[in-house]
Structures are given as C-alpha cells and as structure tokens.
Symmetry: C2
Subunit: 172 residues, 2 copies
C-alpha cells in the first residue's frame, strides 16, 4: 500500500506561492506603516538629509505606485503613473497618509486573488515604463519600499528616534 502523502507536484517545486508573496509584501507594508507612525508629525513633510526628499515624498511614491499598480498587474491595462490621483490626492497630514495606506492595504488584498497563476511570469510594461515579468515588477515595488524605508530609518535615527525593528514582520 502506498501511503506516503502525495503532494501536488507543483507545491514541491515552487520557491514561494502567490499567497506567500502577498504575505511577504503586506508584512513589509505593515513595517512601513509602523515607521510612518513613529515619525514625528512636525518633521514628516520637511526634514531630510543630503538634499534628499523628505519622508513624506518617499512614502508618497511607494504608496501611489502600489495603489495604481494593481489594476495593471491583473489586467495589463496600465494607467499613467501619477503622484496623486482623484481617489488618492496628495496627503497633507500624516493621518491622511495612514488612511490612504490602509485603503491600499485593503485594495491589494482584494485584487490579489484575481491575479491568474500564469500572470507572474508574463512580460508586461508596467505604467508603460517598467518592462519585465510581473513577478519582477512586484519585487520592484517591494524592494523600492525597503530601500526608501531604510533611508527613512536614517532620518529617524538622526532625529534621535528608535525605528521599529526591521525583522519584526509576520510570516505567511
């Protein structure tokens, strides 16, 4: 009698599943949200180092790219990327940023199951600008967030504030 567990062969060969990638991204987004919360209101839109953009602008980029990416990831119909939209105007307070952040978190969760399994390997031109497989573009979004959040950690440290722990992200 053959009583070994018959795993789905695809499950034995995947690096990570779409659900795990979603959890990975949302884990990073949760950490970035805690970074925004920790950031002093009076410095969020103004403080910077080395001629760089303030934290608000770094977060704006990350937030709006994620927001506007979802439709294209699913359908291949890409809007032109805009740094602020009717649905999500440029925030002028930290609370507005956090509210937009939470809206995008829900949007990603809602759109994600609509990504067809074959879609991750399809080559597309995101926002008419970023050409490559969809998995590559999704990692670009995630990596860009990590990159800018790391920069905001330095801003925070020079303001004398301890950032949230980098490793503190839930697993899938």
């Amino acid at each position: 009698m053959e009583n070994t567990v018959q795993l789905n062969p695809t499950l034995e060969q995947i690096v990570l599943s779409p659900q795990q990638l979603l959890a990975h991204w949302q884990g990073h987004r949760g950490l970035t949200r805690r970074l925004i919360e920790a950031y002093p209101d009076e410095h969020f839109f103004s403080y910077s180092l080395g001629g760089m953009r303030p934290c608000s602008a770094l977060i704006d980029e990350v937030l709006h790219m994620a927001d506007q990416s979802m439709q294209g990831v699913i359908s291949g119909n890409w809007p032109s990327y805009e740094n602020g939209t009717e649905e999500s105007p440029k925030a002028t307070t930290k609370q507005q940023v956090l509210d937009q952040w939470d809206r995008v978190t829900e949007k990603i969760d809602a759109y994600w199951p609509q990504i067809s399994p074959a879609r991750f390997q399809e080559v597309d031109k995101a926002f008419g600008l970023y050409e490559g497989p969809i998995y590559w573009f999704l990692f670009y979004l995630i990596d860009n967030e990590i990159h800018h959040r790391g920069q905001a950690y330095v801003y925070l440290r020079t303001l004398g504030i301890e950032p949230p722990a980098f490793w503190d992200r839930p697993q899938a």
Copy 2:
C-alpha cells in the same frame, strides 16, 4: 492536430523560479558592489549618521550572512553566525571587502544549483536563530541587504556623492 505549445504545468504556476531568484539576488548584490566602489575609502570604515554603524559594518553583516548561509540552506547544517571567519576575516580595506564580495558571489552561484526544489518551502532555523521556510530566509538576506544599502545611500548623499541608480539591476 494539437499544435499549441505545451508548457510544463509547473512553469505556468510559479511566481518565480529558483534561477530567477538567484538572478534577483545577484542583481541586488551587483548594485551593492557598485555602492561599495562609489564609497570614499577615507569614510568607509568611519563615517556614520545618527549613531549608526559605518558603511563597512553594514556591508560586513550583509556579506558574512550571505557567505555563511549557503551551507545551511543546502544541507540544514548551520554554522553559528560569526561576523568574520577564518576563510573571510574582518576586512580592513575597501579592496579586501570587494575581494570577499566577489568570492561570495561565486560561492552563491556554485552552491545554488545544489538547493533541491523542495527545499525552498522547508522550515528550518537558519544559524539556529531565524526560523521559517528557506524562501523566507533567503528573502530576509536580500531584504536586509536592500535595507542597509538604502541607509548607505543616505550616508553617500550627505557626503555629496551620487549613489548608483537603484533600478539599474539586470533581470533574469
């Protein structure tokens, strides 16, 4: 006559392949190498902001974790993580760091094909410290590199030096 291309069904369902993950990691490592090259020798081991570690220490962590991870990723036998080993002692010049970096690049390429396809989903405790699936640990290494490199970008900007372009990484 059925003449549509019969793709391997697993290839239609994967987010990314092990080869693509390797290329993703090495693409980031290539960018980090250019960051190290761009960093002024006289500041590499000393300059910092906000009481943080200098660039050399951030890079040391990234380099040694990658170096010492490979054996465990493949076999499940983890060394204790050490910030400097006999094979790879603590560097005292930027050129030594670059040489170690290149050695680790070759090591990752050499070990990678030995990772069994099922291994990415196996739960392990990397270095006896980081518990989770292997894919998760590999992303931890990559993300930690992006995080610290982003911090080094700020150091560089405050030194008046333009860092290499973040998006300039080859695709798989």
